[in-house]
């Protein structure tokens, strides 16, 4: 097994993910590109782990943790995106007003 082959695949996938994150305007497609980034890193972990046969499979354990973190990230991210859609009816990330001042919440006495 030549580890450069999966490493090259992971590098290309990471580059594609970066292109997607920078280029996409639709927030859901942006989250899909983030998944590409995470999977490229996972492939690097697995390959590095396969080149160390004598030790415990630490790389694979890291990948399991990354998968769990990705699940948590996608849950919260999609909740934010759906809330944005409910407020603005659009989910293009470059139309989100960052400097809009929200009025202070009034507390009922």
């Amino acid at each position: 097994m030549h580890p450069f082959i999966p490493y090259a695949v992971a590098s290309v996938l990471f580059g594609l993910g970066v292109i997607g994150v920078l280029r996409r305007r639709n927030a859901i497609l942006l989250l899909m590109s983030v998944e590409l980034l995470l999977n490229a890193v996972n492939l690097i972990f697995i390959t590095a782990d396969a080149t160390l046969p004598k030790t415990a499979p630490t790389g694979q354990i890291f990948v399991l943790f990354v998968i769990v973190l990705a699940a948590a990230e996608i849950g919260v991210g999609l909740a934010v995106v759906l809330q944005l859609f409910r407020l603005k009816a659009r989910i293009n990330v470059d139309e989100v007003p960052l400097d809009e001042h929200q009025p202070e919440a009034t507390h009922d006495v």
Partner: protein
């Protein structure tokens, strides 16, 4: 080049092509379906690299849960069926940065590993060999991750309930 190398390269080509389609297509639903192909091909690579447990976790969680969640979100935001023209910004700057990042990563690995050959370990990634360390030396991060998942769940509920 052995048969294993050829398989790794072929499945890797499938993953890269599907990843390119995820980034380049102008139909939202198709991007999600190409993501299925890409993640499935990566699961096959994990199987070839002896990481059985991780491969099936990938199939269960990524293909089973994350992609379904993404497709639900596509439906809930009323994405149009068919091509949408306004999904992307200009491709120039993004592709400069992306190609730069990919090339530098690839160069790093080429310098670090070259064309060296490794023998694949036997029985390195089944549930026993991975589960043992998780429940002995990695048990604290495991519990922390479970708390993090719970708080992410609660956070998602709070965010989508909206401000009162």
């Amino acid at each position: 080049m052995t048969g294993l190398d050829l398989l790794l390269a072929g499945i890797g080509l499938v993953a890269v092509g599907a990843g390119w389609a995820v980034v380049a297509t102008n139909q939202v639903v198709r991007a999600g379906l190409w993501l299925v192909v890409c993640l499935g091909a990566l699961a096959a690579e994990y199987l070839l690299l002896t990481a059985e447990l991780v491969a099936w976790t990938q199939v269960l969680i990524y293909l089973g849960a994350v992609v379904v969640l993404l497709l639900f979100a596509v439906m809930l935001t009323r994405a149009p069926i068919g091509p949408s023209p306004d999904l992307d910004r200009k491709v120039g700057p993004a592709s400069v940065v992306g190609v730069g990042v990919g090339l530098s990563l690839g160069t790093l690995f080429a310098v670090a590993y070259g064309w060296t050959k490794y023998a694949l370990p036997a029985q390195h990634g089944n549930a026993e060999t991975v589960g043992g360390p998780i429940f002995t030396s990695w048990v604290l991060p495991f519990e922390v991750v479970s708390i993090l998942l719970l708080s992410a769940l609660v956070g998602a509920v709070v965010v989508s309930r909206g401000a009162k």
